[in-house]
Every structure is written in C-alpha cells, then in structure tokens.
Symmetry: C2
Subunit: 204 residues, 2 copies
DNA sequence: AAAATATTTAACAAAAATGTTAATCAAAAA
DNA sequence: TTTTTGATTAACATTTTTGTTAAATATTTT
C-alpha cells in the first residue's frame, strides 16, 4: 500500500522483510507476501523469479543489516567504552525493531548453504577478527577489561544484548511480561551489560 | 530404523524431535519425517491425526525438556554457586545435543498461540518466579552476587549459556570455527560465565 | 485356530503452494 | 500519436504436500 511511487520490487522486498524480520512468520506464502504488499502474486515471480530467490534476497539484506550494525562501532573514532556503549544501544534498538532477524538468518543458513551469501559473511568476519579483536586485546593490556579472548568477549557482548530479544516470546511467557514491561526490561539492560563487560574502575 | 521393537508412535515422535531439535529442519515434510523414521507416511496420521498435531506434541515435549532442565537445579539441596555451576553444565550439554530446541520453540510460539502448551509454561513460570527468584535475592543479601533483579540475573545466565548455541551457525561463520573448535569454545565458557555472574570472593 | 482388533501399506483424493502464460494496461520513445 | 517497451493482471498448469480410505498384514483375544 505504502506508495505507488515507490519501486514495486523494493516494496515487495521490504514487505517480505517486515513479515520475516518483524513478525517472524517464516512460512509466509508468496500469496501472503503479495497480499500484504498489495500487489499481484505474479509480480513476485516477475521481479524475483521464484520464492526461493526472494528469500535469498531478503536473507542477504538481513546479513548486510548485521554487517552495518557491527561496522558502525568499529568505524567511528571513539573510546572503547563508548564503542561498547553505542553498540549496545544499536543492537538493542535494532533487536526491538526486528526481533526475528537473527532467528531468520540462523534457520535460513541451516536450510541452504548459500554460495552468494558467503561473501556477506566474509565482510563481517573481517570486521570482527581483523578490526575488533585487536582492540579488545589492547584494552586487556590497558587493564580496562578482564583478561579474555576477543572471541569470548564478543560472544558475551552479543549474548547479553541479543538473546533476550531473540527469545522474546519465551521470556514474556516465563516472566509474564506484557509488551511495555518487556521493553522496559530490555532498556534497563544497558547499564547491567556495561557493568558486566567493563571493569568498574573503567566505568567510574 | 532404530528398532521395530520400539513403539512406532514414540519412534515417530523421537524422529521428529531429532529433525527439529537437532537438525533444525523446521520445514521438514511428513514424508521426510516418515522416511527418516522408516515408516509409512500414513502412520503419522494414524497416530497423530495431522502434521499439526505431531508438531504440537513435539513442541510440548520440547517445553517439558526445558522445564525438567530448569527444575533440576531448583530441586537439589546444594549451594547457590553449585546450582549455577550445574545449571551451566546442564544447559551447555543440552544445547550441544539439541541446538535448535529454543529456536524451534520460539518460532512455534509465534505461529500458534497453543492453548495446550500454556500449561507447560505455567510450570516453568512457577519454578522460576516462586522458587528461584527468592534464592537470588537471598544471595544478594549475603553479598555473593551483585545487586540485580532476579529476572535480570536469570536472563544474564540464560543469555550467556544459551545464545552461543542458539546462534551456532552464525558464530561458526563469523569466527570461522569447525565443529570441534566450536565445541571447545562452548566448553570454555563455563568458567567465564561463573566469573561474570558470581563475585570473585564467592568463588575463591 | 477362528474371531476380533490393531497396525501397516499403497493407492487415491484434496488442498495448498508455486510457477507460467498470454492478454491488458500504463508509460516512454519514436 | 503511434510504437514500443515495461509493468500488471487473471487464468491456467504443475508441483508439492497433506489427508483419506480400503485392503493387507500382523497381533491379540477367545
């Protein structure tokens, strides 16, 4: 519906991303996607050839979103603590916007060993291994964080930020939280995560 | 194939669980499940009526597995630290055995607001809210852990243990790890997680 | 062993989903 | 304005998947 001015192809793509990343309806049919985009189903084939290729296109977008996210903390010239701080904000915000993005990527990766997609991952790998890891090691040398491998540090960071959102449905059921209570809980986590990852003296 | 002696119904169920929880093939057809169980597809309908009901049965089993897991640390009469320690072992082991269990539950919850299933969750809720939360608060009073709400403490624990396994495929790609390297990484996490969650003085 | 019941199978039917085509409509180029 | 090209549609065809049935086989009961 959004706009006839907008390119149909992009509009279909964005609708699919909404359905997959925001709503987590991974089994949505081409008909459902077309309906929600307000277009004829045949247009999906016209622009993407097949359901599978639309799926791939969306997956690639998803991985690129992750890449941008990770890159954005590496790029800017700010202190390590500030980097982590902004990263938490970013991941939290994106996770609230697209709670099913990671789950989608995980299940999709499992179904198809996409050749196309591997490039996107290489970019993330470079960013993480070549750019971020040395910075973590430098911080350990400075004594601002506990000795730990860069990999484990990254995993701690991602775990603490991402898991609660990935398992949103589960947490809401177990802890009996409505939408707003859940949102609050997630936002409260920033300070908690910073306290865990960075030494006290580095914070004060 | 496993065994003709084994009850067919259970065998189908176990095969489905293997496909869903271990292999993460959430879109497996009834034909694929039947093939892998070595039975005629019609038997799935004979025992479960429909694909959907098999799906539900498996989901219920999955949630019960989570429940047992959580309950097992509450039940035994051991120190708080020991509880956490055993919990990490348990979650780690189960996560390595059934890496897609949580993801399955999350996506399934999203698709159907199962009425049957809600009971299973209530049991988990009781365990967590009524049994575990007071213990966390007691530990805070004792000064063995940092002041934090019981909910956030639980979420930290679950995040640090579960996320790396849930996002296994992702982590393996980003950090370029083969099966064994991944396994090692996960096992190394126990000490890291304990250090994060419990104060140093409580550990030594 | 015969009868009754439960399990398993193959063959069929129905439904759901994807993919294709040719005709229509709209926009841009000639 | 006609021609040409690109976008959109409806109608159809194919494939995939699920669900049903009645017959065949095995198992249990009498």
């Amino acid at each position: 519906m959004a706009g006839k001015d907008i390119q149909t192809e992009i509009h279909i793509r964005e609708t699919a991303k909404k359905i997959f990343f925001k709503e987590g309806r991974f089994n949505a049919t081409t008909q459902e996607i077309a309906n929600e985009a307000g277009v004829n189903r045949a247009l999906i084939h016209y622009y993407f050839r097949s359901r599978d290729l639309l799926f791939e296109a969306v997956l690639k977008d998803g991985i690129d979103m992750m890449h941008v996210k990770i890159q954005s903390i590496m790029a800017t010239d700010i202190s390590f603590r500030e980097k982590i701080s902004r990263f938490i904000d970013l991941v939290t915000q994106e996770a609230l916007d697209f709670p099913y993005l990671e789950t989608f990527i995980i299940t999709a990766l499992n179904e198809k060993e996409q050749s196309l997609i591997l490039n996107s991952f290489d970019k993330i790998k470079t960013e993480v291994v070549d750019v971020f890891a040395p910075k973590v090691e430098a911080e350990i040398a400075l004594g601002t964080i506990e000795p730990i491998t860069a990999t484990q540090f990254m995993i701690n960071l991602l775990s603490l930020c991402t898991y609660p959102v990935v398992s949103k449905a589960l947490i809401q059921k177990v802890f009996d939280l409505n939408e707003e209570a859940f949102r609050q809980l997630i936002l409260e986590r920033k300070e908690i995560i910073l306290n865990i990852l960075l030494k006290k003296k580095a914070i004060e």
